[in-house]
Symmetry: C2
């Protein structure tokens, strides 16, 4: 037999199946209301439009979308992306500022490959998106975790820690990873002041910022805050966008954008070795969808729909949750998730099997903590379940918490 333990790379040896993946297996039983996933509601998918568009563009440019395409992305899709970026940012981006990706997860993987040598440090929020930790860990990254408060990443903590590194003459982190809008998993939005502070700190210590914006278009209340990319004056920021939450996830399409063309160029070379190109077939469909103005309509519809679901969930939490010291939850202005804090003595990990027994599921918060903490936290998704299930599911969750408080 092959001695795989000796043949696998060090990083492969260290990889474990994601906790979420394992949890999801437990909750496939019938009758369980799952707030665990991060899925858009399938009833929002623009099925009819995609069908029409696909027919008509296969007719128009069939041979083109069925062939290999440029690594940089379909020029038609890039033209539409540049228009979308114009709404976010006055910067005169052109084709060389943008790289189409096979959705954001690929952007995370490629950014890891771009920056990380084994043992390098990345700054991440505590908590942060689990999938990002997975991507970066494949390159054997270490993490500097920075806590969040209601304004997002606590930048003063970050500055202190970086000052200390500088004083000790140690190696600086390779980049700072943030999800400023309706963060996964907490739903917290970073304030304008903190965004500016983050940039100031990045400039001061010479560290690039990876800004992940999958939920940005899904704002249900409050005022939009400028992206860190649009505040950037020195080409320090790489931003990641995806069509997964605004159009549909099944096409697996996103993009990376930066003022810094050298970064985009290097990422393009990396992408070539990774998959040659994102499917031209799906890119052609998405380009036409945006061109015809369907994305705008789709976002308007999604915002109206998810806004109701969030409102419903917040109402249910208010009504159903026991009045216990130390029990709280975030009230996001957008996105797909909210974050529940249990009293310190409670463990969401221990509670999980009991919740499943009551036929409700969530993701344990510790999975999002690079430092192994957060046992008293959990993530709840409000985009996927029906209004009826949100009501019933929160009742069940409230009962489990009350019974075990």
């Amino acid at each position: 037999m092959l001695d795989l333990e000796n043949i696998f790379s060090d990083s492969a040896k260290a990889m474990k199946a994601s906790v979420i993946r394992e949890l999801l297996k437990l909750i496939r039983e019938p009758g369980i209301i799952s707030f665990a996933g991060g899925l858009p509601a399938p009833e929002t998918f623009p099925t009819e439009k995609i069908k029409e568009i696909t027919s008509s563009i296969i007719e128009r440019e069939g041979a083109f979308m069925m062939q290999y395409g440029p690594t940089e992305g379909d020029p038609n899709l890039k033209a539409q992306i540049l228009k979308l970026m114009k709404n976010e940012d006055d910067y005169p981006f052109d084709n060389e500022n943008v790289l189409v990706t096979t959705a954001s997860q690929q952007g995370l993987d490629m950014t890891g490959k771009l920056f990380v040598n084994s043992g390098d440090t990345i700054v991440v929020g505590v908590p942060t998106y689990l999938g990002a930790l997975q991507s970066f860990s494949a390159y054997k990254a270490n993490y500097m975790g920075i806590d969040l408060d209601e304004e997002g990443l606590i930048t003063s903590d970050l500055e202190e820690k970086l000052e200390a590194i500088k004083k000790r003459n140690e190696k600086m982190p390779k980049f700072i990873y943030v999800i400023p809008d309706f963060q996964n998993p907490t739903g917290i939005t970073m304030s304008l002041n903190r965004r500016n502070e983050l940039l100031r700190i990045a400039y001061k210590f010479g560290i690039p910022i990876l800004e992940d914006s999958p939920y940005r278009a899904l704002r249900y209340s409050g005022e939009s805050i400028p992206t860190i990319l649009s505040l950037d004056k020195k080409g320090y920021v790489i931003s990641m966008y995806t069509f997964s939450k605004t159009m549909l996830p099944g096409l697996r399409l996103g993009w990376l954008v930066s003022q810094n063309k050298e970064i985009i160029q290097k990422l393009t070379i990396i992408k070539q070795g990774t998959d040659l190109c994102t499917p031209p077939f799906t890119q052609a469909i998405a380009a036409e969808f945006v061109k015809l103005g369907h994305l705008e309509t789709q976002i308007t519809n999604n915002v109206a729909y998810y806004k109701q679901k969030l409102k419903f969930m917040l109402n249910a939490l208010e009504k159903e949750m026991p009045k216990i010291d130390g029990l709280s939850w975030t009230k996001p202005e957008g996105g797909m998730f909210l974050w529940v804090k249990l009293p310190d003595h409670m463990s969401a990990d221990d509670l999980f099997p009991k919740a499943v027994k009551e036929k409700v599921a969530y993701v344990i918060g510790s999975a999002f903590h690079c430092n192994g903490k957060g046992q008293n936290t959990l993530r709840v998704n409000f985009s996927y379940s029906t209004i009826e299930d949100i009501d019933l599911g929160i009742k069940r969750l409230a009962k489990v918490i009350k019974d075990n408080a």
Copy 2:
């Protein structure tokens, strides 16, 4: 400004844009006949069928194909893939032996991530597929190059070199990468004897084999030879397949298969961090295409069509090439490429700008050599150009060679 040279990872620093990529830019001028690419002929694409299938499956399973899917791949597509594998191999493969990939290039990248620590060695043919070298080099692999003769990789050379490593008590290569059928770039097919020898050597030294089979279905003459996967009795082989050359490249779909489920399991975890899942949208289309029997028809048509193109090109070479000592070319039984050897004193690199001036292009052979050699070789593609262009292009190429011999 960001000091990117200090921030990029060592592997990113070492990455260069592929030579082919740079060459391709030179040959976009009008009137150039390019034998440089590796593209299927667009006139073979089953446009009408894909259009019909897409309409009908969006109607049938729209919400499913538009949602996120399992990392392992769409179960419907995997069922079809298992049927295809049954034609190749008696082994009772099941779902856990197969992982759907965003085409073969992703399989190469993930295999690199699975096995390679910085400085590890991989056995490759001299020459071999350039894109594989690019993928593996991203993990800072070194190469043990083994020459090819008309029977493929010279296994006796490999055994000698591995014996020497063993004697010196040095670290064994992590895996052996081969393209047994109609190899890219040479068109050479590995004999049955060599396949068996390769397996024997792999078992002897405990090294897995990565068998890349993108062209296998495109055989125009001679008898099919069993895959190394089907000869494997110990789970040492990982095989990569793609729909890019048999169906169409624009969907970017392929798969990895091995008797060794532990390898497929680890690759699945790697894939999760790389792109979460291959687009369910394209997988649903491909599954239906295979299910309806269209793949078989498509392969039959492609074989008949490319067989003619190859015959035409071999005739043109016979007729047009100057009679010079040391000038020769391979006569492949399938695939998309043939390989020209110039006399030792000639350089295909130096010849390239002259060929472009005569309005014909190829890929310089040195690009496929991990050891920097092969200056007197070049790769010619026969699948993409029309019959008329093959004739005219070979005339031009023959003239350039004759004028510079």
